[in-house]
């Protein structure tokens, strides 16, 4: 598994996103506070509906049980654990593996559409 050291945990913005470059791919990384526990999610930064690299600048939230980011362009919601677009289920964005080691954020270049927690 190809893990890449990206940045310090402090570089993440709580309840919001940043964008990282991982082997030439743009990855949106979000930090969420869930019941007092920080959770980190990483998905592709490219919004296939709007056709621009903007998802890291979307608003985080929940739709029912699903944790989502809303694209700032046309407001479609993408599930952060599966990458699926709620409004257009046939559209799926990549989801990347995440780990925290000694205060550093690492991303896994292999797409894996499952969630990683910041344990």
């Amino acid at each position: 598994m190809a893990w890449t050291d990206i940045c310090a945990f402090e570089d993440l913005v709580e309840n919001s996103g940043i964008c990282a470059l991982l082997n030439g791919q743009q990855v949106a990384v979000f930090l969420l506070e869930l019941q007092g526990e920080p959770q980190i999610y990483a998905v592709g930064n490219y919004d296939p509906v709007g056709g621009a690299n903007v998802l890291s600048r979307g608003i985080l939230g929940s739709v029912g049980e699903q944790i989502v980011v809303a694209s700032p362009l046309y407001k479609q919601h993408f599930d952060l654990t599966t990458g699926q677009c709620l409004e257009q289920p046939e559209v799926v964005i990549p989801v990347y593996g995440v780990k925290l080691q000694q205060g550093r954020l690492w991303l896994n270049a292999e797409q894996q559409n499952q969630q990683a927690s910041a344990a």
């Binding site: 990206i6 570089d11 490219y46 296939p48 608003i59 985080l60 739709v63």
Partner: protein
């Protein structure tokens, strides 16, 4: 990578366009190519006649070339297909081009049929089908006095109306013994003839035209089989339509005896890789000459191509329309051809109303109806027919005048009843949209698309929505979203009373879940208008739309635009030079806005701080073009220069803009000040409009331009400046307190119980005793104003966010510009592809402009 299928569409009429649109929405990657026979992309043929009453070609357009480019749809205009080669899966065009397809969709529609009458090919013998046809009609009408429409069907009468509007003395000639023989029975047809004749259009039924020869008084003479004749300058054929099926015919696809490309329930032709939809398709021996069934076929093919299972099951051909100002409706079996059918007929010769309903032999079901002169019962009748509902004991009640007062109870409709057939929206879809938070017609329309096709279902949609709202009770209807069971107004109250300062606190005390892109910005705005904290303070960061987060307006390619404040539109030459220099240095596209300031486009995220550093250093402040807040106070030049001006409108505009700048509100706010009653600043189309008088200022409120224009209401006259400002303070604060999310002042006023009078009582007479409180709240906001960009530039933590990548100084390579009219513009998808293939086009280097604050970071 798996090869995606090449999908080729012939024809870009209404149905062809709907297909492309739906397919793109379902499959963002499909390769779609469209060959359009006409000179422009699809337009609204249904409302074509509007072209003669002022609707422009642009307004009729259903899409634009830019939209197709952005959606990555290849298209070729003026591209007529001559031949299909099924073996090689190629189509050939008249210009010699050839296109390969994996799946081919024929959406060629139909053409106007011109009966084989000798003389039918003369210059002023025209048809009514395309924009080009209409241009030709207008040109010919300008040289004519008398016009004849041959054909008294639906379209013929619409065409007659157009000729009448063009100022011609108009006749309609119909071969059958009555008008609209397809839709109306004899009684209905007679009533219609009578009404139309009274409107000044002469109707000639039972006339077979045999020749068009040179006229004596007019250009031509029509000669009829019965020996009579009619003089006219212009002949318009509206004798029916014929499907464009030649392509299918010549490549051996099955076609109907009387034309039309045969399709099955999947809209497949006899070749499984070729589909036909819209007016060119023949399904079970029927051609559907309406858009709604065509749209349905388009959806069927989209479903087939994307692994779905939708099939076409026929369509209802009922119609309701206004012809020459006469209301006409026809439902189902209008001619009572069903065995055993019974008819009820009601005529009112004085009001010239004719109504007939056809019921089943047991009197329990409605089979059809004809309405002329009054179609108020149409919706309820149609729903009895379509939903197979049991008729009341005395069905005649449905068309008798006493019953007109009792409209269809929408609540009794089943959830699967179709409300909008153009977009296939059932009542259940509307209820679901309302469950998920849409609570007014506008948002329901935009979310379900209901009522955005032919518009025929507007009244029904409204009654469904109203009834549904009523049944839910008023409290339920304005819940902000699934996370807060409160309206915006209630949340604002909770925030202010509870002294709540953060979203997290509000959510844990009054909400559930994590929030979303609806409640977060709303609460962000409420917090800002309540406490005026810096919007990028840590707890507020995640609440803001990207525009508020980065204090700039995101454009379609992810770049931003920058708008410095130019209060009142007044700017010094030095400052103009600064803006120009910044635009040059950062290679930005500049455009003057409607609000009298300058918009700079094409800034990358990481350039924003450097751009603003330059602007702030030169004395500019943020223009809040990104926020739901005061935008601009437009002004005319006023008494200082203008020979008509009676007050200094510029000075007043600047003072007002500086007072309310940065004020966060439920939606954007625009204002204007004119220096005299000539109103050059267009103040009456603004949320707050001020017009100078000899004695002071007239205050107008709650106007709007844009999509839903509303003329502002005159609120108070001849005010001195102090009173003027006090009133504006109070009105704005009341609006901020009580409006719904994203509700402009115009809609707020329309929904305000008691309207303008009530507003005057609260603001001028202070009947609620809150005037002082409103003023104090406003004063607090005014006194704590700070320019957000200045604050941001001084805050290294906030500046950290202005970079594309947390771990690299690179720029977003998907943002690419090309040059147009000596400035940059975003590259289209096609241009980007070329660029990726190393075909050189201008690309901007961003590394030349490192941002100070960021350089230290890395």
């Amino acid at each position: 990578m798996q090869q995606t299928k090449q999908i080729l569409v012939i024809g870009n009429g209404m149905v062809g366009h709907h297909f492309v649109d739906q397919l793109r929405a379902k499959d963002p990657l499909a390769q779609i190519t469209v060959l359009c026979g006409e000179a422009q992309l699809a337009y609204d043929r249904v409302h074509l006649s509007g072209y003669f009453s002022g609707t422009s070609a642009e307004q009729l357009a259903l899409t634009t070339e830019e939209a197709y480019q952005a959606a990555n749809i290849q298209y070729h205009l003026n591209c007529w297909v001559e031949q299909i080669n099924r073996e090689q899966q190629l189509v050939l065009t008249s210009q010699g081009g050839s296109f390969y397809y994996d799946e081919l969709v024929l959406a060629t529609g139909s053409y106007a049929f011109v009966p084989p009458i000798p003389g039918n090919d003369q210059p002023h013998c025209l048809v009514y089908r395309t924009l080009q046809d209409l241009d030709a009609i207008a040109q010919s009408a300008a040289l004519s006095k008398v016009g004849v429409v041959i054909g008294g069907g639906l379209l013929g009468l619409e065409a007659a109306n157009a000729l009448k509007q063009l100022g011609l003395h108009t006749h309609v000639v119909e071969f059958a013994p009555q008008l609209m023989a397809v839709q109306l029975d004899q009684g209905g047809g007679q009533m219609l003839s009578q009404k139309i004749t009274e409107l000044g259009v002469q109707v000639h039924t039972g006339k077979a035209t045999q020749a068009i020869v040179a006229g004596a008084e007019c250009r031509y003479q029509l000669q009829f089989a019965d020996g009579e004749s009619l003089e006219t300058d212009l002949v318009l054929f509206s004798a029916g339509i014929r499907p464009y099926d030649q392509l299918a015919r010549s490549c051996g696809l099955a076609v109907g005896e009387r034309g039309g490309i045969v399709v099955n329930d999947q809209c497949q032709t006899s070749d499984p890789h070729i589909y036909a939809i819209g007016e060119c398709a023949l399904w079970q021996q029927k051609i559907f000459g309406l858009v709604a069934p065509g749209y349905q076929m388009a959806r069927v093919v989209v479903s087939q191509l994307t692994g779905g299972e939708l099939s076409f099951t026929g369509a209802d051909m009922s119609t309701k329309l206004k012809l020459l100002g006469v209301e006409v409706g026809s439902i189902g079996d209008a001619h009572a051809r069903t065995p055993g059918a019974l008819s009820y007929v009601f005529t009112d010769p004085r009001a010239q109303v004719y109504k007939k309903m056809v019921v089943s032999s047991d009197g329990k079901r409605l089979l059809g109806a004809v309405l002329v002169g009054d179609t108020s019962n149409y919706d309820s009748l149609l729903h009895y027919a379509l939903n197979d509902m049991l008729l009341p004991k005395q069905p005649e009640q449905l068309i008798l005048p006493a019953a007109s007062g009792a409209p269809l109870a929408a609540l009794t409709l089943p959830n699967n009843a179709t409300i909008c057939s153009c977009h296939n929206v059932a009542k259940g879809d509307i209820v679901a949209a309302m469950d998920s938070g849409c609570c007014d017609l506008a948002s329901i329309k935009s979310c379900t698309k209901a009522s955005t096709g032919c518009g025929g279902c507007t009244a029904l949609l409204k009654s469904v929505v109203d009834d549904e709202l009523k049944s839910r009770g008023v409290e339920v209807k304005n819940h902000l979203c699934e996370h807060f069971a409160y309206s915006r107004q209630e949340l604002l109250h909770l925030v202010q009373v509870g002294g709540i300062k953060t979203f997290a606190e509000l959510l844990s005390r009054h909400g559930q879940g994590l929030g979303c892109d609806i409640c977060k910005p709303t609460v962000g705005s409420i917090l800002a208008s309540s406490w005026n904290d810096y919007v990028l303070k840590k707890p507020h960061v995640g609440l803001q739309d990207t525009n508020d987060t980065f204090l700039a307006n995101m454009q379609k390619d992810g770049s931003y635009s920058v708008v410095p404040r130019i209060a009142g539109g007044e700017i010094t030459a030095e400052k103009l030079l600064v803006i120009g220099q910044v635009a040059l240095d950062f290679n930005l596209y500049t455009k003057i806005t409607g609000g009298q300031r300058i918009d700079l486009f094409g800034a990358r995220l990481e350039q924003l701080p450097a751009i603003w550093q330059r602007l702030v250093d030169a004395g500019f402040e943020t223009g809040h073009a990104y926020g739901k807040s005061l935008r601009t106070v437009k002004s005319c030049v006023g008494s200082t220069w203008c020979r008509y001006g009676v007050q200094d409108s510029v000075g007043q505009a600047i003072a007002i803009e500086n007072r309310y700048k940065g004020l966060r509100a439920p939606h954007k706010i625009k204002m204007a000040v004119s220096g005299c009653t000539r109103e050059c600043a267009e103040a009456q189309s603004k949320d707050i409009g001020i017009i100078a008088t000899e004695n002071g200022w007239n205050l107008y409120v709650c106007g709007n331009g844009g999509m839903r224009p509303r003329h502002a209401d005159l609120f108070a006259t001849d005010l001195d400046t102090d009173t003027l400002i006090r009133y504006i303070d109070r009105i704005l604060m009341l609006y901020i307190r009580t409006a719904d999310r994203l509700q402009r002042t115009s809609v707020w006023m329309e929904k305000l119980d008691g309207g303008l009078d009530y507003l005057r009582k609260v603001i001028i007479d202070d009947e609620l005793g809150i005037a002082a409180e409103l003023e104090n709240q406003m004063a607090a906001l005014v006194n704590t104003y700070a320019c957000e960009w200045k604050a941001t530039l001084e805050n290294p933590q906030a500046l950290k966010r202005f970079r594309q990548f947390v771990n690299s100084p690179d720029a977003d390579e998907n943002i690419v510009f090309v040059e147009e009219r000596s400035q940059i513009r975003p590259a289209t998808a096609e241009e980007k592809r070329q660029w990726l293939q190393q075909i050189p086009i201008i690309q901007l280097s961003t590394s030349e402009l490192p941002v100070k604050a960021l350089a230290e970071e890395n």
